[in-house]
């Protein structure tokens, strides 16, 4: 990407105040309410540096997790949680197709898969649909946020999320998850993780632009012989299934989604409500009729 002309205006290394619409300089995106924004996470570019995890923790002032060694490759973070909103997963190919240790190292992605996971900002979002208080809401940037001053910690969003993202923090009793840096977007800044990513594996932008860019990237990879590359969470792709039309944070993957701990075909849980309620009500109606007969039958 070429350096935007406006960048020439800011040559000093310490700035007196924030640059207006800084996102135009850092990622070429103008952030305006009413438009759809999201993340395109290209796993073929991820080097597993965890800069996104650190940037997220720093910007959002999230506390550290309890320190532990998981023994699961370089992944000591483990999973997304109430206090971890970016999580880099590490998949090591320790066996080849025959079950032996691989003896050939490929020049591309060698025997590693790495992915920076995040809240998918689903559209429609199961967590938001499940929230009875309205604490979970869709922002003016078409992302999903939680209002901690409204959440009463019913934990229903936790069971609704098909990606195991949102969690209620036992310390404050409220639900927490990635906000897609709602505060930064309001101030015209690119989200912290995307800005910190040194390889552009995490790209922030307007959704339609990202979709187009992602499709081109898949085509390029295919033409270079990487025919296993595909999109996850783009419209009509795996991940955007069962009533979920697309994920505002979508991915480019090169192995089955489950390898990265993602479901192939997540479903919108709210689709089961109507028939469920009807089944229950009909049951009670039938039992009431039975009760009527039981009470009035002759001796």
């Amino acid at each position: 990407m070429s350096v935007p002309a406006r960048a020439q205006e800011y040559t000093q290394s310490i700035l007196a105040r924030a640059i207006p619409n800084e996102s135009e300089l850092t990622c070429g995106v103008t952030i305006e309410p009413g438009k759809s924004y999201g993340f395109f996470t290209d796993t073929t570019l991820c080097i597993g540096c965890k800069a996104c995890e650190v940037a997220c923790k720093e910007w959002n002032a999230l506390p550290a997790e309890e320190f532990k060694i998981t023994g699961q490759s370089y992944d000591n973070t483990g999973a997304l949680s109430a206090t971890t909103w970016r999580h880099v997963s590490f998949v090591e190919k320790l066996r080849d197709d025959k079950g032996d240790r691989p003896s050939l190292l490929e020049p591309f992605q060698s025997n590693w898969l790495m992915m920076s996971d995040v809240c998918k900002h689903c559209s429609p979002a199961p967590c938001l649909e499940a929230c009875p208080t309205g604490a979970l809401f869709r922002t003016e940037f078409d992302t999903v946020g939680v209002q901690q001053d409204i959440c009463n910690g019913c934990t229903y969003c936790v069971t609704a999320c098909p990606f195991g993202v949102v969690e209620v923090n036992e310390t404050d009793g409220k639900a927490h998850k990635c906000t897609l840096c709602y505060d930064r977007l309001k101030g015209g800044f690119e989200p912290a993780c995307a800005k910190a990513c040194p390889t552009e594996s995490i790209q922030f932008g307007e959704l339609s632009t990202l979709h187009e860019r992602a499709r081109m990237r898949v085509e390029t990879l295919h033409s270079r012989g990487r025919t296993d590359a595909y999109l996850y969470g783009a419209p009509d792709a795996p991940g955007a299934t069962g009533g979920i039309s697309h994920l505002n944070a979508f991915f480019l993957l090169t192995d089955r989604p489950e390898t990265y701990n993602l479901p192939v075909a997540p479903k919108l849980p709210s689709r089961r409500i109507r028939r469920g309620l009807l089944a229950g009500f009909t049951t009670m109606l039938a039992l009431a009729a039975t009760a009527f007969v039981a009470f009035t039958a002759g001796e």
């Binding site: 019913c154 404050d172 039981a294």
Partner: protein, 338 residues
């Protein structure tokens, strides 16, 4: 550049496009790779407080349905059933939400449950239904009591009129909790759709029949009332049994049954506690009473207590099975296939 890389690629073994079919036989459990067997979902945190609510809410809702049905039968000898049912409904609509609120992580903000209405949230639908149920049940009970105290027929009429919306909302209160669990991403609950609300309805009616008969025993139940309740108990036990057969069959077919039917502690409680103690034992005890042609109080009380205990265990066992289910990535990846 592009052309060079295309030439190089085959030397390292060609990559094939990723097949998104289930890597095992059709309808088999997912048998492909997982991410270090780490959970792909966050489990629900519902424990005994929620189990108690599911149990109490079920009794309260179904008790109002039974009371209103008995009221519409319009027979003076069913009076105790009507009154007991209405009492249970009001008591449950006070006690039930108390358990729900106690389970919130920020209980002092319970009123935010009524801040908005969201038709895509079973929790929201339940909160509002519960509120309407409590209000109409309260009026129906008060009018019923006043009718007795003042002997004015107008009160009886009010009780009967308010009994209708109370019973309608009661039918939802007794069963929406099944949908509440099914409308989540937890594999075992999601696959139990829409059997769970049917099972919850049958169990709610069985437990409330038991509770009503316990209450009615105290006020000296008539022979006719007793027989009516006993017949209802048989029918609900049969309905429950049938629903559990359907549920088990479905869970096995979808390969997500392990947490309920095969994990040692839960499976034991489910079979021994719920199926045997909660459904079979009461039917056998009541059957014996019938065969012996006795109106034995001990028999009825024993059957009712067993039914109630079973009903509670069902809720508690389903909640812990859900927790285990969400933690098993294989179950979720089996459930989340195209």
């Amino acid at each position: 550049m592009d052309h060079l890389e295309t030439q190089n690629a085959p030397a390292y073994g060609r990559r094939t496009p990723v097949s998104l079919q289930r890597p095992s036989a059709r309808l088999g459990a997912y048998s492909g790779a997982t991410y270090y067997e780490r959970p792909a979902l966050k489990p629900s945190d519902y424990g005994q407080l929620v189990a108690a609510y599911l149990f109490i809410g079920g009794i309260a809702g179904a008790a109002q349905v039974i009371a209103t049905t008995a009221d519409l039968a319009n027979r003076s000898e069913l009076k105790d059933i009507v009154r007991s049912g209405r009492y249970l409904a009001v008591a449950g609509s006070i006690a039930g939400p108390a358990f729900l609120i106690a389970d919130l992580r920020t209980p002092e903000r319970w009123y935010n449950m009524l801040r908005i209405f969201r038709a895509t949230s079973t929790m929201s639908i339940g909160a509002w239904t519960l509120a309407a149920f409590g209000a109409t049940s309260g009026v129906a009970l008060a009018a019923d009591i006043l009718a007795d105290a003042t002997e004015r027929p107008a009160f009886r009429m009010i009780a009967r009129i308010f009994g209708l919306p109370a019973a309608a909302t009661g039918a939802i209160v007794a069963t929406y909790t099944g949908t509440l669990l099914s409308a989540t991403s937890t594999p075992i609950w999601a696959e139990a759709h829409p059997i769970l609300p049917v099972l919850f309805g049958a169990s709610a009616t069985a437990t409330s029949t038991a509770a009503i008969s316990l209450l009615a025993q105290r006020s000296g139940v008539s022979f006719r009332q007793h027989n009516g309740l006993r017949r209802l108990a048989f029918v609900t036990a049969a309905a429950e049994w049938l629903s559990t057969r359907m549920l088990e069959r479905r869970l096995r077919l979808r390969r997500v049954a392990q947490p309920l039917l095969a994990s040692p502690a839960v499976a034991k409680t489910y079979r021994g506690g719920y199926l045997v103690l909660g459904i079979v034992a009461p039917a056998v005890i009541e059957g014996l009473g019938w065969v012996m042609r006795r109106r034995s109080r001990t028999f009825s009380v024993a059957a009712a207590v067993a039914t109630l205990a079973g009903g509670y265990l069902l809720r508690s066992v389903l909640l812990s099975a859900g927790k285990t289910s969400a933690l098993r990535p294989v179950d979720y990846f089996t459930n989340a296939q195209p």
